[in-house]
Subunit: 434 residues, 2 copies
Amino acid sequence: MTQTSAADEVARRPRIVIIGGGFGGLTAAQGLARAEADITLIDRRNHHLFQPLLYQVATAVLSPAQIAQPIRTIVRNNANTRVVLDDVTGIDLEARIARTTQEGEVPFDYLIVAAGASHDYFGRDDWSAFAPGLKSLEDATNIRRRILEAFERAETAATQEERAAYLTFCIVGGGPTGVEMAGAIAELARRTLRGEFRRFDPADTKVILIEGGPRVLSSMPDSLSGKAHRGLEKLGVTVRTGKMVTNCQPDRIELGEEAIACRTIIWAAGVRASPAGNWLGAEQDRAGRVIVGQDLSIPGHPDIFVIGDTAAVFTQKGIPVPGVAPAAKQQGTFVAELIATRLSGGDTASRRFVYKDQGNLATIGRSQAVVHMGRLKLSGTLAWWFWGVVHIFFLIDFRNRISVLLDWLLTYLTYGRGSRLITDPPRPKGPDIT
Amino acid sequence: MTQTSAADEVARRPRIVIIGGGFGGLTAAQGLARAEADITLIDRRNHHLFQPLLYQVATAVLSPAQIAQPIRTIVRNNANTRVVLDDVTGIDLEARIARTTQEGEVPFDYLIVAAGASHDYFGRDDWSAFAPGLKSLEDATNIRRRILEAFERAETAATQEERAAYLTFCIVGGGPTGVEMAGAIAELARRTLRGEFRRFDPADTKVILIEGGPRVLSSMPDSLSGKAHRGLEKLGVTVRTGKMVTNCQPDRIELGEEAIACRTIIWAAGVRASPAGNWLGAEQDRAGRVIVGQDLSIPGHPDIFVIGDTAAVFTQKGIPVPGVAPAAKQQGTFVAELIATRLSGGDTASRRFVYKDQGNLATIGRSQAVVHMGRLKLSGTLAWWFWGVVHIFFLIDFRNRISVLLDWLLTYLTYGRGSRLITDPPRPKGPDIT
């Protein structure tokens, strides 16, 4: 709670509240580090997460801490910034207050909503229990546990049918996350687990990548999609394009008439924006993203901005800006500059956000990736090295950089994985419980 | 389920079941790697845990994966050994069968019970919710979350009293774990968190180590206990010896008449053996440890052995063998040799386990440790380096060795900690819920 008297009002510095410490919110905070303002950065988590490598936590390559960094450590030297671990429950546009669980009420003059996104099951939220998605560290360790446990249960399975179902992994969604998960599970089975089981050969594992559209990595040129498709098949992944999932159950996945017996389904298909649109009472698109103006503010509220995966932003040509880290960071920088200009009395009426496409990349497996940047199209080993260098470079923390580099080096040399932990209670036996 | 006909009985190799993949069970499995037998190693976890460094996971220095290694990776080359992730629920001594959740029934000719220990609240199990102990990786990440969240809640506390309670950490038990936890929390507050909060100075954190006996590290000589005591005080830890805890609550700890307002209590006081004694119907001591004979078998069952923290073993002088890793490993080796001798037709009637004390060591903080080995007594920087070298040396895996070494180096140089993650939902506000 904050009570401010009229006298305080005159003296106080402008208050900027940033909701979310992901790529968008953190970049905005850094851009405002020297601003004459009091900034409150609110996040439900104590850490900034480097989501592009989250699939490597889910597949036991990296530990959670290697791709996360405490938000308050990152901004510790920003004297104008206070970090609060808190849950935003609503926003009062008239009173200019964000409501939260811990602080109660946090007043603002400027608000930046960068609250990210979660999974979308297209109206079938009941599937989430059987087909978890990958957004947070908890999601990643949950999926890691399910994958590793499936192999353990294959070792103790009573029948061949049960064993085969445990050794079948279905990944729904052929975007970068789905492609990277499929490749990483296939390599886990064929390389890392070799020789560790007595009742089956892990090389018999089936990994099935299911994509509703005609090709995987649809944001890439046709030729690179094709290379990714063939690269996955070489790793032993079955790629099923043009297939819609009609049902997910603990013991099977259904594609129309066809049912595939499997015990592990991973959802990499849909994304839904955080409920910020509801808090703001602003217009949203089908995925719940807030429709923002060209300066990323919401209509009628020039001091309230929505950025990153929570916002629906379009390029000059009317194409949606993709929900990727570079887009969120560009938006964070844009809004920080806009607010800083206003704070120093400048005019920002003509400002409009322009997205610079920095390209697309996805890794398929050892020594295999695809890269598309402007006219450059790369695949194979060179693309894989490029992918690795870029990801190390963008990791926030020096410690994380060298520790990820070390783990990648050891995984490359030994095929071992550094983080093969099942850290929650094993799931009970039987098809009716997950 | 296993059905064996009389013909099979003649042909089959002896079956050895090992319950537990800790230091005792794993050492036994390795000692029997070349034995003409079928070995089943059962553990509830998929990983062997290097417990001596568990407190560093709880205090955000190391990640869980750095001190754990999949059991089936460790014994992958033991062709006679099958690893099963399973829960033992009972043992039928007459039928010579271990009952489990997944496999159902696992028959044995030889049985090695190495099921470890958990916390003992001396009849006050209701305290466990407010005063968690440290035995598993989940325990460690749970305690890590509580410690880091306490600082977060101090930042959002509404009153100074509430803030002070969040900044008070009580550790119950002045053995090595309690001493190491207290030192690590004090250094976290004073060094790592410096400058990261806006509403308080982390250096104001109170760390209180409570020990019922007259001195900390009671298994060490008086002089080293004194050095540890003074070393802790130099780090800002308040050491309270001769104090018994009479109550633990979410918002306070009580020592008789005295109540200390605190939100974080860590239990490092009591150890209780796993329920193996009940399964075996064997005599147990007060801590639930199975009373074994001089060859570590149980009375009347020369083929059933209990080792490690699950067993009550005594030296020639009648002193209890301590529940430490070297003792468990020596017992695992002893039992493996004994069984191997019997398998090859040798006589083992005169075998008796003799414990070799390899010394005691505990770290207090940066450049401070105490070491006692035979006549050698070390303290200070030299002891600290010795402690570090010994722990790196005994880590099971090459990858873990270099990754721990790297993290220690970076922590030494920067005071930063590599693993400051809160990865479960924040606990709700208020004193009545933890």
